[in-house]
């Protein structure tokens, strides 16, 4: 109360005097002209507006500010409007021609044995060359002799060849045991031969066939049968026709094929295991075997058709269709043809056939192209269809879809620049604020209180000056790698570490300033007016440190952005999937890559430069604006 009374006394006195003066001046004003008043001429701006005004006068600062606004809106608003995220991997569909099936005239003949014995077995391997000889001679029939046996090779229709035995060693007998060693003679013949051996006859005739006994060794006697002309026995059938079951699972017996071949183009009818079959001949050399109900059982084709992957058993329908196209192409002598059929689908990633839940292949109607190719003299027809395979769009140059192209992981570079800018700029700010807060607190305490506190803090600063940032970051990065710290957490830690490592410079600056300011008389006056200590520090000391602080902060911002970029570029900072400006450049780290993919690193590099320059410009502008002694 007492204080208030005295206070009011001074105030009241002042008021009274003002009132008196006002009266006097009122009285005077009637006579005197209005004096030119300074107050009306000078427009008084608030300190903040003064700073703003001075700042806005600085052209470079404006340039910096505009740059910063542009960078910030690119980083923070850009992603809102940009359709791609930083982790969207882009793929392109690449059409891949997949060879599905191959069709060719078999180079060798399939052989079906009607008579199986030593002679035919030996002879089987020579059939191909005999047929070749026959074709070279352009004859329909030829007698060939091999190893004491003679055969007649006959050309039939559609590359069906019949090999008949003229004379051949069909049987062999054991002399001592007197039993058959090779061959299956009928009981009567067996008896005849045994008798002939017993009688040591060298020749006999049985049922029009003459037999010769040849002593091969002491214990073995060979029997050579020679058939009369026109009564030769059909022993081997050779053909290039293929027999495929219409329905998979149907077993095609060799014997049945033999029967079919025997009747092919002749009677076109045969009986096998008590069932009647008919052969239906189609144009182009293909045929079908129908069972007694008229249902197609076996396809007969002049070509061998197989799938290339080996994972698919081609259906008879496909083969027929393919063969028809090949026939047509053969007829037209064209090199390409096409047809459509249901073919299995491929998985893009694994290049495996897609299957449904039951393990069946998923079929889809596709247009197949047929190409004729000659490989070492053999004519082959390849049926292929295009498979659209999705692959990552790596290092794609700038295009309408990706303005700056894509990087080595298929990410959109522009999107990553935007998101990376967020992190780079935020890291800059957070680190600098951490540094500054730490630095101002420590420097302020050291400078203001002095004594052993000052000594302690300054030694601490010395220690922090000695810590080499790079090796420390490398060590910490490796520790983080080991601990598998998630990227965002790692980012936080990196900011904290950079802040903790960087405060010493600011602390030293603040301390130096405060040491000089502390001894100034206005600080003593502030103490004399009874201001609290923290108010003296924050209202009198810190504002006087502000210009240097702001300059060091803004310069520091640029520096921290550079440090962060360097660390990220080296792979020590923010880890890969998270984009920063540093590790965008990292995706083209080799010189070759840098040469080839300028569109990836150049824009980021320019942005980093611009950010640092802009921060420095703004820092300079702010320093000038904060300095009230600036004349401009």
């Amino acid at each position: 109360m007492a204080e208030n009374n005295t206070t009011n006394l001074l105030n009241e006195k002042l008021k009274a005097r003002e009132a008196e003066q006002a009266k006097e001046t009122n009285a005077k004003q009637a006579d005197e002209p209005i004096a030119l008043d300074d107050a009306s001429r000078v427009k008084v701006l608030s300190p903040a507006r003064l700073v703003l005004k001075r700042f806005l006068r600085n052209k470079l600062a404006i340039v910096g500010m505009v740059l910063l606004i542009a960078l910030f809106s690119l980083s923070f608003l850009g992603p809102v409007f940009y359709p791609y995220g930083q982790l969207d991997k882009f793929t392109t569909v690449k059409g891949m021609e997949l060879d599905y099936a191959v069709c060719g005239v078999p180079s060798t003949f399939n052989k079906y044995m009607l008579v199986e014995n030593k002679a035919t077995d030996e002879f089987k391997n020579f059939v191909d060359s005999f047929i070749k000889e026959l074709n070279n001679d352009e004859a329909d029939e030829k007698l060939v002799e091999r190893m004491g046996s003679s055969f007649i090779v006959t050309k039939g229709v559609d590359n069906v060849y019949t090999v008949k035995i003229k004379s051949a060693e069909l049987y062999a007998y054991d002399n001592i045991r007197k039993e058959v060693k090779v061959g299956e003679p009928s009981a009567e013949l067996d008896a005849k031969i045994k008798a002939a051996i017993e009688n040591k006859e060298s020749e006999f005739t049985f049922e029009g066939v003459s037999y010769q006994l040849v002593s091969k060794s002491k214990t073995e006697t060979g029997v050579i049968a020679t058939y009369p002309d026109g009564a030769e026995v059909e022993a081997i059938l050779a053909t290039k026709l293929t027999f495929d079951p219409v329905e998979s699972g149907y077993k095609v017996e060799d014997e049945m094929i033999s029967l079919a071949l025997l009747n092919y183009q002749k009677e076109n009818r045969f009986t096998y295991k008590g069932a009647e079959y008919t052969i239906e001949i189609h144009e182009g050399g293909s045929a079908k075997i129908l069972d007694s109900t008229g249902k197609a059982v076996i396809d007969i084709l002049p070509y061998s058709i197989r799938d290339i992957s080996g994972k698919d058993s081609l259906g008879g329908g496909f083969k027929t269709a393919f063969a028809a196209v090949v026939n047509q192409m053969e007829a037209e002598k064209s090199r390409t043809g096409k047809f459509s059929y249901d073919v299995p689908q491929l998985d893009a990633d694994t290049a495996q056939y897609l299957t449904d839940e039951d393990g069946n292949l998923i079929l889809e109607n596709e247009e197949l192209a047929v190409n004729r190719k000659e490989i070492s003299g053999e004519v082959r027809y390849y049926a292929n269809y295009s498979v659209r395979k999705e692959v990552y769009d790596l290092y794609s140059p700038p295009s309408r879809a990706h303005i700056l192209g894509t990087d080595g992981d298929g990410y959109d570079v522009l999107a990553r620049i935007m998101y990376g800018g967020r992190i780079s700029l935020i890291v800059g700010f957070v680190v600098v604020f951490l540094e500054t807060i730490l630095g101002v607190i420590m420097g302020g305490i050291a400078g203001f209180f002095g004594g052993w506190v000052d000594t302690l803090i300054m030694r601490l600063v010395d220690i922090f000056y000695c810590i080499p940032t790079m090796p420390i970051m490398i060590i910490i990065a490796s520790v983080f790698d080991k601990l598998k710290v998630p990227p965002y957490e790692r980012l936080m830690w990196m900011m904290v570490i950079l802040g903790v490592l960087g405060w010493s410079g600011i602390a030293r600056l603040v301390r130096g300033q405060i040491l000089s300011l502390r001894e100034q008389e206005f600080m003593i006056a502030a103490e004399a007016t009874g201001l609290k200590t923290n108010r003296r520090i924050y209202k009198h000391l810190i504002p006087n440190v502000m210009p240097q602080l702001i300059v060091s902060m803004t310069m520091g911002l640029g520096g921290v952005i550079l440090t962060e970029s360097t660390l990220s570029y080296l792979g020590l900072g923010v880890k890969h999937p998270l984009a920063t400006w540093g590790n965008i450049i990292n995706s083209v780290s080799s010189i070759e890559a840098m040469k080839s993919y300028v569109y990836i690193w150049l824009p980021v590099g320019i942005l980093i430069c611009l950010a640092v320059i802009a921060f420095n410009f703004v820092g300079d502008g702010l320093r000038d604006a904060f300095d009230p002694k600036m004349k401009r």
Binding site: E18, I524, T529, K539
Partner: protein, 388 residues
């Protein structure tokens, strides 16, 4: 009834607050520390036992040559730095016995105006804030009157109201000193230490500031301690004047008395140097020989004896008492000793001589020191303890 009560209250307060400030035997030593281990190897005795008292509404001038401890007195009695010894009693309260909180409360009552108006204003604060900051802090006026109050204070100190938002660098030295005065005045102080407030200003501005100070004193019943080495200014503004030499007060009296009849040889020499604005006037200057001794190692006895033209033998070893030579006129000089004092001084001198002889004879045990000497030693011990 009410009137009577008021009157008595006023009377009481007047008698109680007759002296706003009393300084008793104030000492301020600055320790000299060795560069190695920071051991105290000596003291700079900047203020060495100064006593004075200032009546409410008066101005005390404090003069002396450079380095004699005037400013240190000013700052120490505001407790801007610690004391070594002594008491500073403001309004009946020993300032050095207050807790920090209490000190902060009493701060507005004692203000200081500095010599350099350039460094005494925070360069990053607008004038209004410089003046009003502490006003808000101490709730000197209710918040709704704050702005008007600052304007009034500024006008009272001859500043324009619209200066409020300007920064110190926009002002001339005189204006800045007015701002300093306004800052001090705004806290409604009882007592202002003016630490050479005009020595940095040119003469015409000096006059303005002096007159402003005088006017404010008249209007608001302020008490000043006016520290200056400019004797003319001190003569003009002061009611009483104290003269300091090497940390000690050598003479104190009312202004008229001391200017018309200086007693101490130092005061005489000092006053003889006052320039007189008359070209024909022949100045009879008393030129002092030598320079001021180091306050770290002041001479024994009377500190002034090294330069005093009236130096006697006893001056060299016996410290003169600071005593009232004439009513209201204090002086510390052996010239004005009474008979008894002279005798006491001579006795002390003899003892000291004997001691010195004994000390010079090696091997003989030191004579038992006299009581006074023992007391001195004890005092010294005390002093050293307080220092530590």
């Amino acid at each position: 009834m009410e009137d009577i009560v008021k009157d008595t209250a006023v009377n009481e307060s007047e008698t109680k607050n007759d002296y706003v400030l009393e300084v008793r035997n104030l000492k301020k030593y600055f320790p000299i520390k060795s560069s190695f281990l920071r051991l105290v190897i000596g003291n700079v005795k900047a203020v060495d036992g100064v006593s004075f008292a200032i009546k409410r509404g008066t101005t005390m001038g404090l003069v002396g040559e450079s380095g004699c401890g005037k400013s240190t007195v000013g700052r120490t009695l505001l407790r801007l730095q610690s004391k070594t010894e002594g008491e500073v009693i403001f309004d009946g309260v020993d300032i050095f016995k207050l807790s920090k909180k209490e000190l902060r409360k009493i701060r507005p009552k004692i203000q200081i105006i500095f010599q350099d108006p350039y460094s005494s204003l925070s360069p990053r604060m607008p004038i209004g804030e410089i003046i009003g900051e502490a006003v808000r802090e101490h709730n000197i006026v209710p918040p709704e009157e704050y702005e008007d109050y600052i304007s009034r204070i500024m006008r009272a100190c001859g500043l324009q109201e619209y200066y409020k938002d300007r920064y110190p660098h926009e002002f001339s030295g005189g204006q800045r000193q007015r701002i300093c005065i306004a800052r001090a005045l705004a806290l409604n102080p009882d007592f202002i230490v003016c630490d050479e407030p005009v020595s940095a200003l040119d003469v015409s501005i000096q006059a303005q500031i002096i007159n402003l100070l005088k006017q404010l004193q008249r209007d608001f019943n302020l008490t000043y301690l006016f520290i200056s080495h400019d004797l003319s200014v001190v003569e003009h503004i002061s009611d009483t004047v104290g003269v300091m030499y090497l940390g000690s007060m050598v003479e104190y009296s009312e202004t008229e008395k001391i200017f018309s009849n200086p007693l101490h040889p130092y005061t005489k020499a000092l006053f003889s140097a006052i320039p007189v604005p008359d070209p024909d006037y022949k100045m009879e200057r008393i030129v002092l020989e030598g320079s001021i001794p180091s306050p770290a190692n002041p001479p024994k006895g009377c500190k002034f004896h090294t330069r005093c033209k009236d130096c006697m033998k006893m001056c060299e070893c016996v410290v003169p008492n600071y005593k009232e030579v004439e009513p209201g006129h204090f002086c510390a000089c052996h010239l004005y000793n009474s008979e008894e004092e002279n005798q006491a001084a001579e006795e002390e001198m003899k003892k000291l001589e004997e001691e010195a002889e004994l000390a010079n004879k090696p091997g003989t045990p030191a004579a038992e020191p006299e009581d006074e000497v023992v007391e001195d030693a004890k005092e010294e011990e005390k002093a050293s303890e307080t220092k530590e």
